[in-house]
Subunit: 150 residues, 2 copies
DNA sequence: CAATATTCTTGACTTGTTCAAGAAAACGGA
DNA sequence: TCCGTTTTCTTGAACAAGTCAAGAATATTG
């Protein structure tokens, strides 16, 4: 993704254009479902001296402006992805934590309606499918999920 | 819930019956969607000297045996509930973090099928509805979600 | 009641993330 | 282009939730 595009994205949501932000946005676009640590690593390939705090700040800002999406399945650290606005979901491997995208099961977003909303004003239905990834399910078929490390 | 019932539940899944486990199981049954800290507090009402580690251990064991369910929406600490096996879901308030139960939108569990499973062996579809609880939505109607604390 | 396996206590430690103060950089206007 | 203002970044400390590990205590089996 060309540099000017990243710049456009930042300006488009009213953010100042800074090197750390461009690098972070680029990293999230390149890496799939990356955690903060991987993003810091990728960013430092271009800008060796960015502080981890700058990355955290950038991720928060970009998330607040909707340029990236933050996901955090139970037991995982925060992860970020660039595919936003299409309400897709995720499959997560119980054994190794691998994440893959899954298109919305029922068409347009939000694809689900709560049967009883308890008076909540709902704006999003997030779906996480839990299971075993191809590698884990074939490698240790007799192993019960979540107990692989004991 | 009578003490013997809790005992039965533990024995039923092949666990030793200990005071901490009974207290933890009782606490999770009493409190709704409680975090570990609240559970520790509740447990110490009965057993003032239990270590936090014993509570963590018990919660892990009970979760592994399916007597309690662990939920952890993004940005929240781990929470536990006693309603297990019926594949119900949750609404979470973006502003205050309140959680309420929601029955499964589509009947029997698992109520959803991934459109493309990427070869994952899926055993559960977890749904989290995000929005504002009645209190938060009426109290600060002009406030944009997630920015209430800035 | 004794033997054995499991569980609990104690206390240190890790990890991911946030806080805070000042230095540096980006943007708008002269 | 330069200046002033506002925002962002750096630095370094702090924090909370949860985990690890070794030995003491307890539950269960025979």
């Amino acid at each position: 993704m060309p540099l000017t595009d990243l710049e456009q994205m930042l300006r488009g949501v009213g953010l100042r254009v800074t090197r750390p932000r461009i690098a972070v946005l680029g990293a999230v676009n390149t890496l799939a479902h990356a955690d903060t640590d991987s993003i810091i690593g990728k960013v430092r390939a271009d800008l060796p001296d960015v502080s981890h705090q700058a990355v955290y700040d950038s991720l928060h800002t970009l998330t607040a402006k909707g340029l990236v999406r933050r996901i955090q399945p139970s037991g995982s650290v925060a992860r970020y992805e660039s595919r936003v606005g299409d309400n897709h979901h995720h499959v997560v491997c119980r054994s190794c934590g691998a994440i893959a995208d899954v298109d919305c099961a029922h068409g347009a977003a939000p694809c689900l309606t709560a049967s009883n909303d308890h008076g909540f004003v709902i704006d999003e239905a997030e779906v996480i499918y839990w299971g075993l990834c191809p590698d884990c399910s074939t490698r240790v078929p007799e192993l019960s999920p979540l107990e692989g490390s004991t």
